[in-house]
Amino acid sequence: MIVEIIDVIISGMINGSVYALMAVGLTLIYGVSKAFNFAYGSFYSMGGYLAWLILSAAFINSYLVVFILAVPMLLILGFLIEKMLVAPLRKRDDWEIKVMMITLGLALFLDNSYQVVFGARMKSLPSILEGSYSVGEFIISYQDIVIFILSIGGILILRWFLNSTRTGMSVRAVAQNPAGAQIVGIPKEFVFSATFAISTVMVGVGGILLAQKYFVTPTGGWDILVKSWVITAFGGMGSIRGSLYAAFILGMLEAFVGWYYGMNWVLIALFAVLLATLAIRPQGLMGKWG
């Protein structure tokens, strides 16, 4: 029993760390540009498929190569999508709803393209690191450890980027005061695109990491979109710290509910907790209105 509970806690932590990475990406775009991206989950699947493609190329079988190739690809793709699909809408009064619609269209387009290109069958990816570490009855796989380290590492890199680089600071500036950002000469449009690109990378990397554990399917991203969304709303949309806490809380909740009641209840439990939280704090754990 105790071993099982520890297992559940660990799996909650591991999933929580990847969710944190992905939820932070979602909250970042929302915080900076107030745009909501319905295709977020499709970028998750894209990460998984990219990894599968790269790994199934005969001469490559290293995850290092996967990251080296996939990250810039996702970055460029995210940037272009923002520039071509979201930016033109921003001039309109009703751009918020139009952005939701166009990204929903994009999600449909991408998901079904995966299905045509890769087939409906799920793809499995090799483990990033084989083997496991055990103390008595208790076992933790190296794979889990690496996933955890990489997710936390990704969040730390983002933190460093936002706090210490010029572009990162300009991202925060736009989030906090777009008019002020314009006054000091920050090119807002570029920041919007860059943020979108960064968030695409974050969810794509999340896809690469989780694909080893959960397979890649054409529509697997929806689950991730909804979970990231619940996490960001729970933590307060636009608040990075809120999303971090929320990711671990909800990751843990998911692990326990899934273990005790079955996976069917996970989403229901997540939404129940979210609704209860929003009923008390409509702005989420740490969010502000805006």
Partner: protein, 269 residues
Amino acid sequence: MLEIKNITKKFGALTAVNNLSFNVQKGDVFGIAGPNGAGKSTLYNLITGLYPFEGSIRFNGQELRGMLPHRIAKLGIARTFQIPQTFPSLTVEAGIGIGNYFGSQDGFDSSYVDQILKFVNLDKKRNHKTGQLNLLDKKMLMIGAALATKPKILMLDEPMAGSNSKEIISLMDLIKRINQDMGIAIIIIEHFMKVLTELTRKLLIIQTGTEICCGDPVEVTSNPKVIECYLGSSGDGQITTSENSNSEIHIGEKNAEKNLTGSNHAGGK
């Protein structure tokens, strides 16, 4: 009619309204002035139920604290805003109709809407979309919609801002008619001292949320403390229209309250 007792409003560390008390009687014209950021608009927001506060506001004996804005509107307190608020998707007539249908205790009466349209001189533009109106007409529409709720008190927030001297005269005339012909009490925030001294019977000066002095407008404007707060010690004894403010057009900024706190936007920390 309106009794305000010891109301205080804090935004975090900033005290926007600090322990203010005053009364407005039936048929009164009550003026409020003070430098920008003094908390005048916040005071209006408290009276109309937009923010919670400490203290007590009674209207005809009824406590307004904790009451929702639309209830307060229905009780007979109407207001305008510093930055003209209109409904760009609606016609002039529909905008005024909103006030009458939802705000008036007597229910909707299209002949009353007609009357108001004439009163604010918009009956020829009744089918225009409000986005197409000029600044003065927008203000008129805002006043008209407020009047359509058949208020007992009308609270005007800097009605003269952005108007030329001719428009100011016609607006002053309109305010007098609202007060005298319709018997509606008026509270007015204004920077033009001449408007205040001519219209009001009682004048309240506030600075950083606190009362500086309150009383007869002529006496108030010659109070050295008031002159100091407007001009600094080097003042020559005459009140000018020095400070102000927000109805200047901002890029992407609408909420006057934001200027108070200085921290405008939701932050991604």
